[in-house]
Symmetry: C2
Subunit: 204 residues, 2 copies
DNA sequence: CAAAAAAGGTTGCGTGCACAATCAACATTT
DNA sequence: AAATGTTGATTGTGCACGCAACCTTTTTTG
């Protein structure tokens, strides 16, 4: 591992633990075991460093989601696989997901122009889910829905469930929040079962 | 308005605009039009000031939610009124909702023991929704659901939808996100309509 | 190939600034 | 005359970032 990589790793750890404002150059360089000056040399300034860390996490995230959905045979399965992969990723410590929860252009940091590439990346996440929804409407596993809006609602639910789980003290959270979240999505995108006794015949 | 109140108002404005870290004593006292020293005199330190601001917002929030749900005649209506009131409150600039979105023990700030009263207040919000769900299961307007978990999921959806709407640049958000969010909830808590052609007779 | 030179990586101390919090003096109210 | 409210200059701290010196690797050149 090069020193540049060690710095990025340390940055991901610390941004996730302490948030943007409370993470200092000193802490990062110490945890990475390199000289303080290397930070500005490699990454310019603190904001750019954060951007590098955040984009790294986001790229892995998108890769995982893409892989998870590509394995599904129906649109409905794709949607549920998307949600499952989202929540699973956020629980994996090695994903450094906390970086995006704690800092991010969403709360802590002032949104600069550079941040736009993060939003664009997030837009790709939405688009991926949107595709699954469209697919589900075509293959008949999902009801007729406004695809883009529904995708955004589902992602919003993932965001909220994740924040609740990760940032709220344990004693205030319900035991099986994620499982219940998935069931909630399933119900919200279930087919109207008016033709309950007809459709089972359509199995191949 | 006393100077103490002016300070709290300015604090709510600025915490919401800039977040905790980027809001300074100087900015606050200038916007409030009072001397800098009054801040520590009245509120002790920055964290306590934030706590005062956040709790003020939270108390109004809980009051609004309570009023909105108390007017409903069924549990299902209560749940939907809760959601509508939640989202509406978050859009009202005079509610200073952004304080809780931008700072909050959820992201920016380090969680101290003092923050616990905020979590307890939030727990009351969950409890309020949970009551509506229980009521709906009793009066038959909602299906059988795990009340506490479902309440937490719905609040999570509110959190996420709100963050998407408020923190994401306009160009990346879908036009009617909130309306679609409400429809999503309606579908997720709808009664199984297996007895579609029987129940319409049960109208009074 | 060796010597020289350039380029890039690495060091940690120095600098200047922005900030939270203090404080002593002054004003107003009780 | 005591208590409480109000002032803003001052203080000390912690920080991001600059910088000059040093080390290591690659490139150039006779």
């Amino acid at each position: 591992m090069t020193k540049k990589e060690a710095l990025l790793k340390a940055a991901k750890e610390l941004f996730g633990e302490y948030g943007f404002a409370e993470t200092t150059f000193k802490k990062i360089s110490e945890r990475a075991g390199v000289a303080l000056g290397l930070l500005t040399h490699h990454y310019g300034n603190k904001e750019k460093l954060f951007l590098a860390a955040g984009m790294d996490v986001l790229n892995n995230f998108l890769r995982v989601l893409t892989r998870a959905t590509s394995r599904c045979t129906t649109g409905r399965e794709g949607v549920l696989a998307f949600c499952r992969a989202y929540l699973e990723f956020s629980l994996d410590p090695s994903s450094y997901w906390l970086v995006l929860v704690r800092c991010s252009p969403y709360s802590d940091m002032k949104v600069s122009e550079d941040c736009d590439i993060m939003f664009r990346k997030f837009a790709e996440v939405h688009l991926l889910l949107e595709e699954q929804i469209r697919r589900g409407m075509e293959d008949g596993t999902l009801p007729t829905l406004p695809a883009a809006a529904t995708a955004q609602v589902i992602v919003a639910l993932m965001v909220g469930a994740n924040r609740t789980r990760v940032l709220t003290p344990y004693s205030y959270t319900v035991p099986h929040l994620y499982e219940e979240t998935l069931r909630f999505v399933e119900r919200a995108v279930s087919l109207p079962n008016t033709s309950d006794m007809i459709s089972p015949a359509s199995e191949r």
